[in-house]
Amino acid sequence: MIRLLGAPFAALGRGSTTLAEGVGRWGMLTGQTIQALRHVDVWLRLLLPQMARVGVDSVPIALFIAMFTGIVLALQASYTFTGAIPLYFVGVLVGKTMMLELGPVLTGLALSGRVGANIAAELGTMRVTEQIDALETLAYPPVAYLVVPRVLAAIIMFPVVTALAIGMGIFAGWATSIQLLDMTSAEFINGLTLFFVPFDVTFAMIKATSFGFMVASIGCFFGFTTEGGAEGVGHSTTRAVVVSSMVILVLDAFWAVTLL
């Protein structure tokens, strides 16, 4: 009876311990990553290919998501505002929403599924096939070789992809407004510029940078900690996507609370 009653508490304790252990191990990996930055000769030549994989290859999916987000935003804004608020507020809503929220978050979520899963699967496979162990045996710093280029590439390319996604979303909102809504281009641009402040762009870039760091570092962490063969790789990949998505949303709220 006592065991039965204590089971939930035991589960809570195990979960907390696991979470704390995971955070601690992720912190240790992050510390090692920062230390590994000194091996510039190792990670620098790998940075560009990683930037291409993380950023350039992610541009199409990011633009696709942003385009339809912009279209839907414009249509829903006009549906909401009709008869009560001037339609040029469609421009306000599309611009502000894309810059402050949906551009960085949707891009981050999309890239967490694509980049985070890719990194976790790749490094997890290397872990279970003992390629990482081989690197360590060869005195090749695995963190500098595998983690640093990916994390740096994500930190650099997430804001780039996010900026392009924001531009695409606003463009799609503008095109929707003048084609499908009873609006002129001047009205949309008037709304777009009405409440614009440069900090909106800064805010989006800060969020995108933090999302990039978290997605890449979490993907690397779960890849590095993969155990148990192919099943473990799949498990790590799934966990990497889920955790990085949750972290993106938590960070989103964190930045909103601290910066706005």
Binding site: P86, A163, V197, P198
Partner: protein, 329 residues
């Protein structure tokens, strides 16, 4: 492959940089043209404006707000604006901070002071700075409304204290009296309206008569005009001219007459003097006539004498032989 990666990464990063840089500048309203100039305005307060807001002249956007800062003395807010170089501002230009719409966006409108003389503008320290005024924002209006509502609450409370049952009865009585007075006034107005309509009718009749008189006068004037136009009138005028000439001749002839008249007057004057003298003597009882007038006894005697004389004459007439003896021989 590696070169391809480099190119693609470079293109994507460059595209993002261009998008962010130029997009931000464009959304801020920054133009890369150099033909802009800076204008500074001083305000006591600036409402809800912020850098990048529109600067308008006659409702047309001519620039944007570049910087907002409190003056070192802390008593003014200096707003620096960038406006188009080729735009001339009014000589007595002022800057007015106002809402651009009902949804929270603000602007600075540059206008002539004559258009808005009622505002209390800030006095800038620099002569080239524009005086500024900020229209109260919604928070100030709300604060004012709050004070008004507090005053109304106090007033209501006092009215509640002052408004007793007796006051209510008095007011009801007053209302009833006012109602009676109103009814009387209404009746009076109705009566006066009847009288007024009678007066109006009389005035109408008078006006008609005046009209008839005017018609008659017009006809008379026409006749006079016709008469004046006739030859007989001209003849009469010439006759009157002749008569006038004759009168003038007579007058000239009579010019010597006054001297004769003057002589006659002198004589008459002496005559009247003598008559006065005689009359004075009579009044003084001088002479027979004077005594006669003055002494009634004499008049009585004369009257008796006359009666006796009449008796004598009668007797003579009846008996002439008693007194007259005619003998021829």
């Amino acid at each position: 492959m590696k070169r391809s990666n480099e190119a693609m990464v470079g293109v994507v990063i460059l595209a993002a940089l261009i998008l962010v840089t130029f997009g931000t500048l464009w959304l801020q309203g920054v133009t890369l043209r150099a033909d802009e100039r800076e204008v500074t305005a001083a305000f006591n307060r600036v409402g809800l404006i912020k850098a990048g807001n529109a600067v308008k002249l006659r409702g047309v956007r001519i620039g944007r707000i570049r910087e907002i800062q409190v003056a070192p003395q802390g008593d003014l807010v200096e707003v620096t604006m960038r406006i188009q170089e080729d735009i001339s501002l009014p000589d007595d230009a002022v800057a007015i901070v106002s809402p651009e719409s009902l949804f929270g966006d603000w602007q600075i409108e540059i206008a002539s002071r004559d258009h808005f003389p009622e505002h209390r503008y800030a006095n800038p320290r620099e002569p080239d700075h524009l005086p500024g005024y900020s229209i109260p924002d919604i928070s100030q209006l709300t604060a004012t409304a709050d004070r008004i509502s507090a005053d109304i609450e106090v007033l209501t409370e006092r009215v509640g204290i002052a408004f007793s049952e007796e006051t209510a009865r008095n007011i009801a009585s007053l209302i009833e009296n006012v109602e009676n007075v109103t009814q009387r006034l209404s009746d009076l107005i109705s009566q006066q309206a009847d009288a007024f309509s009678g007066v109006t009718e009389e005035i109408q009749v008078i006006a008609e008569e005046v009209g008839y008189a005017a018609t008659g006068a017009r006809q008379s004037f026409e006749r006079i005009n016709q008469t004046l136009a006739r030859e007989e009138f001209s003849q009469a005028l010439s006759d009157m001219t002749e008569v006038t000439a004759s009168l003038r001749q007579i007058t000239r002839e009579m010019e010597g007459t006054p001297e004769d008249i003057r002589g006659m007057a002198v004589k008459a004057d002496s005559t009247f003097a003598r008559i006065n003298s005689i009359m004075a003597g009579l009044e003084a009882g001088e002479g027979t006539l004077g005594r006669l007038l003055e002494d009634p006894t004499m008049a009585q005697e004369m009257e008796g004498t006359l009666q006796e004389l009449q008796l004598l004459l009668s007797d003579i007439r009846e008996n002439p032989r008693r007194y007259l003896r005619l003998s021829i021989f």
